[in-house]
Symmetry: D2
Subunit: 348 residues, 4 copies
Amino acid sequence: MVTAAVAGASGYAGGEILRLLLAHPDVEIGALTAGSSAGSRLGDHHPSLFSLAERPVLATNADALAGHDVVFLALPHGQSAALAAQLDADVVVIDCGADFRLERESDWQRFYDTPYAGSWAYGMPELVSKGVKRREQLRGARRVAVPGCYPTAVSLALAPLAAASLIALDDVVVVASSGVSGAGKGLKPHLLGAEVMGSMSPYGVGGGHRHTPEIAQNLRLAAGGEREVTLSFTPTLAPMPRGILATSTARLAPGTTADDVARAFAEAYADEPFVELLAAGSWPATGSVLGSNVVTLQFALDEVAGRVVVTSAVDNLTKGTAGAAVQSMNLSLGLGETTGLPLAGVSP
Amino acid sequence: MVTAAVAGASGYAGGEILRLLLAHPDVEIGALTAGSSAGSRLGDHHPSLFSLAERPVLATNADALAGHDVVFLALPHGQSAALAAQLDADVVVIDCGADFRLERESDWQRFYDTPYAGSWAYGMPELVSKGVKRREQLRGARRVAVPGCYPTAVSLALAPLAAASLIALDDVVVVASSGVSGAGKGLKPHLLGAEVMGSMSPYGVGGGHRHTPEIAQNLRLAAGGEREVTLSFTPTLAPMPRGILATSTARLAPGTTADDVARAFAEAYADEPFVELLAAGSWPATGSVLGSNVVTLQFALDEVAGRVVVTSAVDNLTKGTAGAAVQSMNLSLGLGETTGLPLAGVSP
Amino acid sequence: MVTAAVAGASGYAGGEILRLLLAHPDVEIGALTAGSSAGSRLGDHHPSLFSLAERPVLATNADALAGHDVVFLALPHGQSAALAAQLDADVVVIDCGADFRLERESDWQRFYDTPYAGSWAYGMPELVSKGVKRREQLRGARRVAVPGCYPTAVSLALAPLAAASLIALDDVVVVASSGVSGAGKGLKPHLLGAEVMGSMSPYGVGGGHRHTPEIAQNLRLAAGGEREVTLSFTPTLAPMPRGILATSTARLAPGTTADDVARAFAEAYADEPFVELLAAGSWPATGSVLGSNVVTLQFALDEVAGRVVVTSAVDNLTKGTAGAAVQSMNLSLGLGETTGLPLAGVSP
Amino acid sequence: MVTAAVAGASGYAGGEILRLLLAHPDVEIGALTAGSSAGSRLGDHHPSLFSLAERPVLATNADALAGHDVVFLALPHGQSAALAAQLDADVVVIDCGADFRLERESDWQRFYDTPYAGSWAYGMPELVSKGVKRREQLRGARRVAVPGCYPTAVSLALAPLAAASLIALDDVVVVASSGVSGAGKGLKPHLLGAEVMGSMSPYGVGGGHRHTPEIAQNLRLAAGGEREVTLSFTPTLAPMPRGILATSTARLAPGTTADDVARAFAEAYADEPFVELLAAGSWPATGSVLGSNVVTLQFALDEVAGRVVVTSAVDNLTKGTAGAAVQSMNLSLGLGETTGLPLAGVSP
């Protein structure tokens, strides 16, 4: 039995990690910590986690987190590095923040204002990176950076095509929609239910969203690491609690056929338990992956525009965050990769 | 390993049964059948059940369902009786329809126009009935009638108070809201997304809903079976995919205190794994039980009105239908009662 | 041309008043004021009111509101009385708060902790009160108390039956659902979009909601004022931006028929422009009244339970607040009662 | 007073036309017709249009539509041409279908399978086309083709930049989300409320959506008509009743600055009553334009990607269909262009 602590347990990512761990046969849930919520009971924050309702929420610090086999960090960006440095090197630390995702200091500096902390093993096992799946790097890893939710949906959609040189990397355009849990639990007027229901709106337009360099990095490495990626990424807020639908498009390399694209996807994902290449005529829907660790994919070639359009759906909190974290833990500890992870969506 | 067939696999109830069985360690999914959907693949109906996508949907008949240890029936009301009669007596048959729920022929005749088929063991293990929990009747049962979704939310809310003689049974008033999956997959204009989003409306007003006699029966039996129950039940359609929130109110017996009520609930449910008596100040929310087999309860005494108001939340498809079906199967077969049943909601 | 100021212009009620006034041919919008939002532009709060986007939000005080023909107060409960006392007696003051709704000091004291301020003409023109419609009291009134949103839906549903002695007043039970704009713009965790979408929950259970005495008062006066009303009222929060659906039920007086009930409604409302008695088989839906000043009604007799169940729908922000305010202003100033008020819903 | 008939009155577009005409001071509503719904009452289809509830729905044919000053056609694509040919040449015919939108027969043939019927004056007054606003063509026109809903949101977003030669036209990428009313009232399983709430999905991916050539035509003509437009357009279905949010992006012409873009928008739209260029920091939201005839616009330059990203929001049923129809009627008849058209959204 593995013991796991969760820092940032009062937030949405922390809550989803706990939901998954409750159903994980090999994990015992240990300390739960938070920042300003310290001193409360977990049920105040996650009324859906009945068996943990009376668990105390401790203050986040290295002492509270000590003595566990695994520590999940679900903290605001920029807070993981200092804390992780105080955790024992043998402990498996799974960071759901952005701190250790970017491999280039310059990328970090352009989007964040805290010092660059380096990069860790990247928790997207299915992603091709310089010819190798990221899975290899995760086996036995003691430090894991969980990908961002948008990068999960977008990178898995385009990486096989980048790896197979089927698309140009200089004009990738992505527009993606996220459910409002992606914005977290912060009390902001535009996140009130009355504001978001029945309304869609964009944000971070023009290249400003912090997931932009992470997506570009993934595609660059998928393609071998030599060519830079130029990406226009626009996120939008959709009136649903969870889910990301991404529309990712790139110009096709000359002569590329639909069969070439289908083959690249099949080669990359045929054996992946959490990537579903949908049957012809079926299209991803966020409702179908709700609560599951699955990403669904479907593509079409637009002959007139000379572009391939790949659409993908994930649950931003599950495969987009907490599911990837648990999947990474499984790999790190040598447990079954799919253990404890839902393979079917809760639908309708 | 137990083999299970599902008749009516293309509908919402059938899909939810399959979602739960996929995660059940002791069950292997066998034949999937349907009526007009026969000949299609399951993925056409339940795109969220990825591992079953290519499974063929057979025509519903006794031959297709033969040879399984358990058969789940998720058919339109009135269709179960004829089919069940053709299934081997040793097979566990779990009927999610109304056919075998009512113990009085007169109740059936008032609300249905097919012949009365009798009654089976009632699949609500937590319900007190003439001093005994229904659980006892379910152990080893070969025929089980799964309760209706509204009766689950309402009966568990009031039965302990009826059993303890804390409430009058001659003026019970219930208003409940259901997510639209409760109306099934029938193609009706008022169920279109554009119509239901952002809108609430009542239906079956004035005592016409078919769950009315089932609720009255449960309360009558909870109170010992001698006194008739007079019930005003109004269901409403709410703009959400799943969930039932019930507000159940009855006049208090003279001298009844909040402590009396709390004690009755504690005695009835303290050891029940799927009934959550919420802490003071917390109220049921359908979002907290989404996808789980849990019912949440909270009450308040209205001293001025002389009434107790009990509120309860369930997921109509899980604890309200498919979860109760699997829980009943577990009891019938002597498996662990909670096996394969989610104890935490998918929230937010 | 009438000039109108709005205090509390940054909230939902204030915004809806402005939306209606913008379309009112006889009104010119003057000063807009607020509390903590003073100093901002109106567009920061109501991005849908394009023509007012650059209007400055002033601090709420008597000076800012002086010099207008009409002043709308959309302030937190308890703040209107002191401000209104400083406004010229000739100015029409329309208060959307609770301060002047209750005619009994004891009712006020039981639900509020500020001093009782008295009562004003009650802005529900269609309501029968001691044999006379409230409309009569509103013509030429200089001070008007706009009803609460729940009392609008419930009182219009039951008052004609109370007035005609068709129902018992000692056991009225009401359960109503409101869209989340009813909770205002306060930044509370349970009002976040991720929390409210897909979820229903009750609040103020057991008689604690402040609209309870207002409903009881309306029914008492509808019945002539001699008999007290006993009311169980349970509000619930529904996953929609706007709208109230109320289910109001009372025991029928002996011998009362459906025709009696229909006749009472027809007599009360046949000539009312904003009350729609739906055709047989049609039921109120909040979606149908969205953005309109209309309340829809439909009833059923439950012979078994001996109760009449009346269902009603209003837009909580329009007929439930701002529409009633403008309608009252029209009556006060002798304008056409329906001027500027939408008679059709925005649907779907 | 102008008399207006509506063919296709039972659908969503027809209903929205009627909602607007009810509030139009210069129009009297005449015959209402439909196809399979003929013989019903209008209230069966549009319960929100209270004053028209008992109006009979006649069969759609030239006789029923004769004798009106204006005839609105809200019919399935391909049905307008034959009917319009039978209407008097002096009658103003406003067609909300696609039949007369496309100026090139080859465009029509690629996307539709009925014969090409020609093109009419295009009902988007604000659109620059070969240096002239479409408004000029609409004054006095007897035949008007109302634009598609997506083309409204996208064309107004990019046309001023195309006209000013600030963007390249060979690689325009658009991803847009529509509320489900855009799919109409057809009874399709994927449009059921339980399916669409909480879920987003794409459709018509890869260039197959019929609005693609209309958008390309508008941009080509905005740019002067000489250069072809290459467009990748992906529509997605969003969990809301109404609204379109479009993200439209094109590569910038060398040296183009944000000031250039802002100036182009200001020149095109500063005097347009229904186009709102949002203040810096504000972004379009479909909720803000609900029920209004307004389109909101905001842009950002992505220096890294070399693209301008323009976001726009409209209500697909109002400015996207019925509002444009009424606005066109106003121009055709010489009425005030904004008469009867809401300038503020119903929000929240």
